[in-house]
């Protein structure tokens, strides 16, 4: 009886093994701290966005507006490069918005001044990113959303185009696309 059970189980196991499907990405089943993961996303966005009038060797400025636990992992990005572009990190407070950042992450602490901040950035080629809820719907460009323990992102394509930025189709394919100022 016992032998029989074990045998049946082994057969079931082996038949499962025979079915080899796509190779495993190294990331599956991994866990990471939220801020680290968000920083990794921001770094990746940098690879798939083209800024107007910027050459492939100019440094890339990543800015953080407001106090946020993302400061440390973003600071660490200075050790990396995107292509040949060096990364520089700036921590800004609400009184000193830098409009020549390539990427600007707006902290949740800036939620109340969000409309003003976005207005100030209008017509500048700054990729705005935030995890403020409804960010993309309010005219922001990329909103990081937590869904079922994973991070997803929403892109407001109109805001991106208005700023003269070009986003690669690879990034768009993975995003939830929002057109106009509607909520998804």
């Amino acid at each position: 009886m016992l032998f029989n059970c074990t045998l049946q189980f082994i057969i079931l196991f082996c038949s499962g093994l025979l079915i080899v499907l796509q190779p495993e990405p190294a990331s599956a089943g991994r866990q990471a701290e939220e801020t680290q993961l968000k920083a990794a996303y921001i770094y990746n966005f940098g690879k798939y966005v083209t800024w107007p009038m910027i050459t492939a060797t100019d440094p890339l400025d990543i800015c953080l507006l407001g106090p946020d636990p993302l400061a440390d992992p973003l600071q660490k990005l200075e050790e990396k490069k995107i292509g040949d572009r060096e990364i520089t990190f700036y921590l800004l407070d609400s009184t000193s918005i830098k409009t020549d950042c390539e990427m600007l992450f707006i902290s949740r602490s800036q939620q109340e001044q969000l409309a003003g901040t976005l207005a100030q950035l209008e017509d500048n080629a700054v990729l705005t990113i935030s995890d403020i809820q409804g960010f993309a719907g309010k005219g922001g460009m990329i909103e990081l959303v937590r869904k079922e323990n994973k991070i997803r992102f929403v892109i407001n394509i109109d805001s991106v185009q208005r700023a003269g930025l070009v986003i690669s189709s690879r990034l768009l394919r993975l995003a939830t696309i929002l057109s106009g100022d509607r909520q998804p």
């Binding site: 495993e24 990471a32 991070i151």
Partner: protein
């Protein structure tokens, strides 16, 4: 001879470079190797990475050099298991024995029983370990399973942080934040074991930073059969309701308010003893078990690596059973702070105050010394994790200091060392002390356990009693542990833990000197009184492996082995050795396969095995249980599932009849379920 100022400054600078960290940029204490590799992942892979809650950091400190296993929501769902104690089978080294339909014994590294008294269990930081009988009423814990984020199972003592009763292990059941349980979730199933099971949850948004959910569950379980045939009386009906609201007004603060209530009818099959003929008779009772709790917490991120947590809860538990009727009110307040000193030290400390008010009244064959009592606990803990070599070698020193009304002052220290050999291999070792304080029942109770006339003469009656002891001391454990974790490849990881536990002053019994008494009728009283007269040791290992060869297929295997021996049971009968050493099987194992043959289908195969349980009065043969789950999602948000439990076997027993409970055969069962998520 004089040194120029320039040379001095330069020398000082060079020396300081030697001692000070090389990089000037501040690196948070948890920026481990993982984050470096995260950056190098492409977007598609990032989308597969799961986030763990920031709150986990507080536990991570203690977890880092101990034997931890996490059962996540995905594992719970795929297993097809429907009760929390059953789900604990998924973790290595956890002995889950279903005694009968509504009673479980859950234990780690020995100490099993209806009241697994050496295991501390918490739901969102609220202890569900009852001080009344030192254990958990598992049948009362019936959450909507989809609300659970994860269950952290820590093997080995956790007393340096969690205090008394975290002796052989700690189980933390952690529910999801309200923001992660938005929308409507409905789960209904019916089958041969749980004739009706319905769970429902609705989660909504109050404002952008505030969310709530309300959950309801009802479960009705049928009566099982006794091993010798005939029905037991061990069915269960339990209803459970809960709510949770989370509010994050800014990026630094988060507040949470949650509460739950339950009401259950727990069937019991008992023997009542009379001092008059026929002296004993079977009684089938329906216990009423109900309670409610409310938990509030506030967490503030002061700065990176500096966090303060405040939690308070109130818990009211009522049980009207065959033996007694009880009501316990618990108020608990805990404050803790975690901060970093420089780059090498991570400190965590905390205070706790707990009040427990107990009303207990003996009903059948059961007397208590005090019908009402108050118990207090004041405690402080301090733990420092020191990076002896940055990111590589960590020393953790910590201790709990607590004063409680059961046994007075207790110190429970731990010393832990972790060595990250490289990015994929780590070794750890620890030595710790933990105590188990006597329960209210053990201090208060007197149980009539049989009457017998001498030579058939009803006027010469001998009564057998089991008496508690108000002078009971704490049981102590000194645990020596070591472990090894390795990611052999990105798809295969293994975890090995070894332990040697030395127990002293374990609660056993002393024989009573026979004495004539007048209550409840004149008789000669014999029997036993509780005493701290057992010492013993347990040693063994737990091994687990996780292999995910391809994205759609995952195997897990656990094996654990334990030897438990009594050192001495001076002046006590043989059965004390059996109570201490005879209720844990030598081997436990689990093998599982989760396979997604198509993106809309899941197939899970689970094998749970246990070697023979050598309890001499009622040995339990080895058993293997095989569960199969098939699920299909015809459209998004709808899942149909079919689950068979114990498919290779018509029935088996998992635990002897002890603790005044009659065991049952655990039957083969099937159920069909429907889950909707909108």
């Amino acid at each position: 001879m004089s040194i120029s100022k320039k040379t001095f400054v330069l020398t000082a600078f060079l020396w300081s470079q030697f001692f000070l960290p090389v990089h000037a940029a501040p690196i948070p204490p948890d920026a481990d190797a993982l984050s470096d590799t995260l950056i190098d992942l492409d977007l598609e892979s990032l989308m597969d990475v799961e986030v763990y809650a920031a709150s986990k950091k507080t536990q991570r400190l203690s977890d880092i050099s101990s034997a931890v296993f996490v059962i996540n929501q995905d594992m719970i769902r795929r297993s097809g298991l429907t009760e929390i104690p059953e789900i604990l089978r998924l973790a290595p080294g956890v002995q889950v024995s279903r005694i009968n339909g509504n009673a479980w014994s859950v234990s780690i590294r020995g100490g099993s029983g209806r009241y697994g008294d050496k295991l501390l269990v918490m739901i969102d930081g609220r202890s569900i370990y009852t001080l009344l009988f030192a254990g958990v009423y598992w049948e009362d814990q019936d959450l909507v399973l989809a609300d659970i984020d994860r269950i952290e199972v820590i093997r080995g003592p956790g007393a340096a942080i969690w205090g008394a009763n975290a002796v052989n292990g700690v189980i933390n059941i952690i529910t999801k934040a309200a923001s992660e349980t938005q929308g409507l979730h409905v789960n209904v199933s019916t089958g041969t074991m749980n004739s009706g099971l319905a769970g429902m949850r609705y989660g909504g948004t109050i404002s952008e930073n505030a969310h709530y959910r309300v959950s309801l569950k009802y479960r009705q379980q049928v009566t099982f059969d006794r091993p010798d045939g005939g029905e037991n009386h061990d069915g269960l009906q339990v209803g459970h309701g809960s709510f949770r609201t989370d509010w994050e007004p800014n990026s630094r603060d988060s507040f949470s308010l949650q509460g739950a209530m339950f009401d259950g009818t727990v069937e019991e099959n008992m023997v009542e003893f009379f001092p008059v003929p026929p002296y004993a008779g079977r009684v089938q009772e329906d216990d009423d078990s109900r309670g409610w709790d409310v938990v509030g917490s506030w967490s503030r991120q002061v700065s990176a690596g500096n966090q303060i947590d405040l939690k308070l809860y109130y818990d009211d538990a009522h049980r009207d059973s065959f033996f007694y009727s009880s009501d316990l009110d618990t108020f608990d307040l805990a404050l803790q702070q975690q901060f970093v000193i420089g780059r090498r030290q991570n400190v965590i400390y905390g205070f706790r105050y707990r009040y427990t008010g107990t009303e207990i009244e003996g009903k059948t064959n059961f007397l208590v010394a005090h019908e009402s009592r108050s118990d207090y606990l004041y405690s402080f803990f301090l733990q420092d994790e020191i990076a002896l070599l940055e990111k590589e070698l960590f020393l953790t020193l910590g201790s709990k200091f607590e004063y409680q009304s059961f046994t007075g002052f207790e110190v429970q220290p731990t010393l832990r060392l972790l060595w990250n050999v490289n990015q994929t291999n780590s070794l750890w070792t620890a030595v710790s002390r933990a105590v188990r304080t006597p329960s209210i029942g053990e201090q208060e109770m007197a149980l009539e356990y049989g009457y017998m006339p001498v030579d058939g003469n009803p006027d010469q009656l001998v009564g057998f009693w089991i008496l508690g002891n108000s002078d009971l001391d704490s049981e102590t454990l000194i645990a020596y542990e070591a472990g090894f974790r390795s990611e052999l490849t990105s798809a295969l990881s293994v975890d090995l833990a070894l332990f040697y536990n030395q127990y002293d002053d374990v609660r056993g019994f002393e024989l009573l000197t026979p004495a004539p008494v007048l209550e409840p009728v004149p008789h000669l009283r014999t029997g036993m009184q509780m005493a701290n007269n057992v010492s013993g040791h347990g040693y063994g290992f737990e091994l687990s492996a996780d292999w995910k060869p391809v994205k759609t297929l995952r195997f897990r295997a656990n094996y654990s082995n334990i030897q438990i021996e009594t050192d001495e049971a001076a002046g006590a009968p043989d059965f004390l050795d059996q109570e201490f050493a005879g209720k844990a099987p030598t081997s436990l194992y689990t093998l599982s396969m989760d396979w997604a043959p198509r993106s809309d289908m899941d197939l899970g195969m689970y094998l749970y095995g246990s070697s023979r349980l050598n309890y001499s009065a009622d040995p339990v043969p080895d058993y293997i249980r095989f569960d199969l789950r098939l699920a299909w999602r015809p459209v998004t948000g709808v899942e149909l599932s079919l689950v068979g439990r114990n498919l290779f076997d018509s029935e088996h027993t998992e635990y002897p009849s002890t603790d005044a409970l009659l065991n049952s055969d655990i039957p083969q069962s099937i159920y069909a379920g429907l889950t909707l998520d909108f």
